[in-house]
């Protein structure tokens, strides 16, 4: 392999060549410097670097290229490309002159977690402002060098020249050339008006794709370091009821004595094995004979809706407008139903992997976290060191779609490395990742909505029951024997959100209540892509569809009539137009054929963008099998910095939403989780995928908002509505498995 790895922050000195392949240099002494300023060189001191310094964000090199330092990580969504476009636009550099570095707590600024589709929405403005300020500083230097006012200067590809005198020029590289700007980041430099954008808004190819296609790219799973051991966690196959640790009562060391070099690592209830060879670690983890403490039973899965509903809840009134109860009493039709959405897994395609090298007073950890600074803090607590003695570097893993085991794996590696005094690489096995995931929580929803005689929605209520998200990773809970803890408030807790529960319609009387129930005794929860929004849209948009049906109105026309906001209308019309929507009352053309077709429409979002989808499906009434044939998805995310990236996200969202709507459900018995591989946790397969048509509603003068989660809810609900159109029956519990479909169709007949 002779191409250099493009995303490495440290100099080539940090790389070792072995076996013809790249091995990452790995040293607790800190990384080599990339510049030689006064004070500690970049990478030498624990971060985060000063956000109020331009040098934290941008370095200009002598060869007239720029390195950008982002705090948002590439998860395969293409945000690196989008952020480089934003920087290049303000700096007047083209893509070939721009690169970024991997996230590193000694190197890159703290921009918060790469979550909630925030890279462009919240990370972008900071990058734009920093780049604009750097450009202004460069123009000031050029103005002095060339002896003219800034207003007389123009810039192209990082070459500053006097307008009308192209021969009198100086490049960024000549002006700064690997030296520091040494200026404050004030945020006051003027940004380009969107109307002048040349790079932002264009379909720049993703910078990470070529290396991923050729196999040069280094995913976390590829990294190997000198002198490392391979580790595996040893846990029961499938987590138990939350709140009871899986405690090993007896560990039979003799059971792995035939595997030379395999060693057991135990701290508290944490159990793992390490070995020189990976296969030996894998075998030892499977072969080790452990007697686990019996734990309290999980509830009957079938009765989960009733069980969630019956738990003592802490209630928050999220929306309270008008008097829904009185209005419901006056409605000509009230739609009222209870909906259920299951626990679902993140299920990254490659299980999480991490490497930790823990010394007596320092640690270096490589992992695929969405937030390196949060990881550092948690690792420091686990290792008993100050946070500034822990360095975390980000390596992209397999797509994570939220909080999978990407903190658990590095913590397991850290515990094992600290115990054995050597670097340890831990890769979760498939059953570890699926069985010990932090699942997207299940939800029960009770929705009621009513219309008047004119088909106007006059009342809407949504009550949702769900538990929250975990605080401590499993490795911490086991090793430190921490008490069960759940996030019940603040930005990292979950609540029924007001946006996805009818906000897109003009409803004079609306009430939304979030009923938080305790997580203990159920399963461990965490944010899963578009948290709760699929559940909210599944319940809410089927309710709206039911109202349209009762009003004997085409579901598109009904939504159009009840919407006020032009941006919601914009995506609704865009999806309908892409699909070639023909007005028709749902379920008005029912057929007795074995295979029937249906079309559904729905809207939804995550926080602030606007999503809409149309789904065309087939239902085999004999087998109960649903095939999603074609989906159309429209997204308005304000200024789409790169519409091609957004289109790719829309396609991915529609396919993943189809998978979650039709197939995915975490299963468990009274002992623990039983969905631990791709047979017991099926996801949508190649032969089952719908054709997808993405539509970006570009609004260049609006701020950019999230583009990685906002079509999930609409796509799922559109499929559910298409099922009603095909069969005249509503499914109130997903996934819409063949068994459930057969059951509801049989009930209809009976």
């Amino acid at each position: 392999m002779n191409a250099p790895e493009r995303n490495l922050p440290l100099s080539r000195r940090g790389l070792l060549k072995a076996g013809g392949a790249l091995i990452v240099g790995f040293s607790l002494a800190g990384g080599p410097a990339t510049a030689a300023p006064a004070g500690p060189a970049r990478g030498e001191a624990a971060g985060p670097p000063d956000p109020n310094s331009i040098d934290t964000w941008i370095a200009i090199h002598a060869d007239n290229t720029a390195t950008l330092y982002f705090g948002k990580c590439e998860l395969g969504q293409g945000n690196t490309t989008g952020l480089l476009q934003i920087a290049g636009e303000e700096l007047d550099l083209d893509m070939s002159q721009l690169s970024s570095v991997r996230l590193d707590t000694n190197v890159t600024p703290e921009q918060g977690a790469t979550s909630s589709s925030s890279s462009i929405e919240r990370g972008g403005p900071q990058v734009r402002a920093a780049a604009a300020e750097a450009r202004l500083a460069l123009l000031q230097k050029a103005s002095q060098r060339l002896g003219v006012q800034i207003g007389s200067l123009i810039v192209a590809r990082g070459v500053v020249s006097i307008d009308g005198e192209p021969n009198r020029s100086v490049s960024y590289g000549q002006l700064v050339g690997d030296k520091l700007f040494d200026i404050k980041f004030t945020g006051t430099a003027p940004r380009k008006p969107p109307g002048e954008y040349k790079l932002v808004g264009t379909r720049v190819p993703r910078v990470d794709i070529p290396d991923k296609v050729t196999g040069i790219y280094t995913h976390m799973q590829h990294v190997r370091v000198a002198n490392m051991l391979h580790g595996r966690v040893v846990r029961p196959r499938g987590q138990r009821a939350y709140g009871t640790r899986a405690a090993p009562l007896a560990v039979d060391e003799a059971s792995i004595k035939d595997i030379a070099g395999a060693r057991i690592v135990r701290r508290g209830d944490f159990l793992g094995v390490v070995a020189e060879n990976e296969w030996d670690a894998v075998r030892a983890a499977q072969q080790l004979d452990v007697r686990w403490q019996e734990t309290p039973s999980l509830p009957d899965m079938v009765k989960l809706p009733e069980i969630l509903r019956a738990r003592k809840s802490t209630d928050t009134v999220v929306v309270d407008i008008g008097d829904p109860e009185t209005a419901l009493g006056k409605a000509t039709y009230v739609s009222s139903a209870t909906y259920f959405s299951p626990y679902q897994a993140h299920a990254p395609f490659g299980p999480n992997c991490a490497i930790a090298d823990v010394g007596p007073d320092r640690a270096l950890v490589l992992c695929s976290t969405q937030d390196i600074y949060a990881s550092r803090k948690m690792l420091a607590t686990l290792l008993g060191m100050p946070a500034d003695r822990v360095r975390v570097q980000y390596y992209e893993g397999s797509g994570t779609y939220g909080h999978s085991c990407y903190e658990d794996a590095p913590q397991a590696a850290a515990v094992m490395s600290q115990a054995v005094g050597r670097p340890v690489r831990v890769q979760f096995m498939r059953w570890d990742e699926l069985g010990w995931d932090n699942y997207g929580p299940a939800q029960v929803a009770q929705v009621r909505a009513g219309i008047d005689a004119d088909g106007r929605i006059i009342a809407y209520t949504y009550d949702g029951w769900q538990h929250g998200w975990h605080v401590n990773e499993t490795s911490t809970e086991l090793a430190m024997q921490t008490a069960p803890a759940e996030r019940t408030a603040g930005s990292f807790s979950i609540i029924v959100n007001r946006i996805s529960t009818g906000s897109m319609y003009r409803v004079p009387n609306r009430r939304v209540v979030s009923h938080a129930i305790p997580m203990v005794g159920l399963l461990k929860g965490s944010p899963l892509r578009s948290p709760l929004d699929m559940a909210l849209s599944f319940a809410s948009e089927q309710t709206i569809d039911d109202l349209a049906h009762a009003a004997k109105t085409d579901p598109l026309e009904f939504r159009r009539k009840n919407m006020g906001d032009s941006r919601w209308l914009g995506v609704l019309e865009a999806a309908a137009q892409a699909a070639g929507w023909t007005p028709r009352i749902a379920a008005s053309q029912l057929s007795n054929a074995d295979v029937v077709t249906g079309r559904g429409i729905a809207v939804g979002t995550h926080h602030v963008s606007y999503g809409a989808a149309v789904a065309d499906i087939e239902v085999d009434r004999r087998t109960g099998n649903i095939v999603a044939k074609q989906l159309y998805g429209a997204l308005d995310c304000g200024l789409a910095v790169n519409p091609a990236l957004v289109e790719n996200q829309i396609v991915g969202m529609m396919v993943q939403a189809t998978s979650r709507m039709l197939k995915e459900e975490v299963t468990f018995d009274s002992t623990g989780v039983t969905s631990v591989d791709w047979v017991s946790y099926p996801v949508l397969r190649f032969a089952e995928h719908p054709n997808c048509t993405p539509v970006v509603v570009q609004r260049i003068n609006e701020p950019s908002t999230g583009a990685g989660e906002e079509v999930m809810g609409a796509a799922g609900a559109a499929i559910a509505n298409a099922f009603f159109d095909a069969t005249g029956v509503r499914l109130t519990r997903y996934p819409l498995t063949p068994e459930r479909v057969r059951d509801v169709l049989a009930m209809k007949k009976a």
Binding site: M1, A18, G19, G20, A21, L22, L75, G76, Q77, G78, P205, D208, I209, P210, K212, V213, T214, G215, I216, Y217, T218, H219, Q221, H222, R224, N277, E278, W279, V282, P348, F349, G350, P351, E396, G397, S398, G399, Y401, Q427, M429, R430, N648, V651, G652, M653, V655, Q656, S659, D677, W678, V679, V683, L684, R685, F686, A687, H689, P690, N691, C692
Partner: protein, 169 residues
């Protein structure tokens, strides 16, 4: 563990240091440091570890290395040369046509499943240069993608089909 076991990977002989029962995947990743084949499930359920053994796609995560000693292994890294050999080209292209199509279609997200998608897609196009949509769906069905990029993989295989079959415009 010293053995006399040798395997042939991308046209080169490699003396195996691991024990003969070790799955091929761990030899390719830990001894040869190849980035193509990668661990996904260890159960032959997902296809992320796929390689070609004598032109046929196999799952390296469940294949003991000793069982492929007499077979020619091709990984993602060797796919352009394999394509050249299969098609009598004098020089290996920089990329297999399917890899080029994946770039042109901007198909992937995280890219983790693309080792298997590329290996299986290349095998398909070698056996059937002009597959129908139904044939692509059927052949690729053993390879999972969690990011939801199936539609673009489909399109890329169709685009590459035109190159491979000489129908390129």
């Amino acid at each position: 563990m010293a053995t006399n076991l040798k395997i042939t990977v991308n046209g080169k002989a490699w003396p195996v240091a691991s024990s003969p029962d070790t799955p091929l995947l761990y030899v390719l990743t830990n001894e040869m440091h190849l980035h193509g084949p990668r661990f996904g499930c260890g159960l032959a359920q997902c296809g992320s570890c796929s390689v070609l053994a004598d032109d046929k796609e196999i799952r390296s995560c469940i294949t003991p290395v000793a069982t492929v000693a007499d077979r020619a292994i091709t990984t993602l890294e060797g796919l352009p040369a394999w394509y050249a050999r299969k098609n009598g080209l004098k020089d290996a292209p920089a990329l297999h046509p399917l890899q080029q199509a994946f770039i042109d279609e901007q198909a992937l997200h995280c890219g983790y499943c693309y080792n298997g998608m590329t290996i299986k897609g290349a095998e398909l196009l070698a056996n059937n240069p002009k597959p129908s949509e139904a044939e692509i769906r059927r052949t690729m069905n053993g390879h999972l993608c969690r990011c939801g990029t199936y539609p673009r993989i489909m399109k890329a295989i169709q685009v590459a089909s035109r190159t491979v079959s000489g129908d390129a415009p």
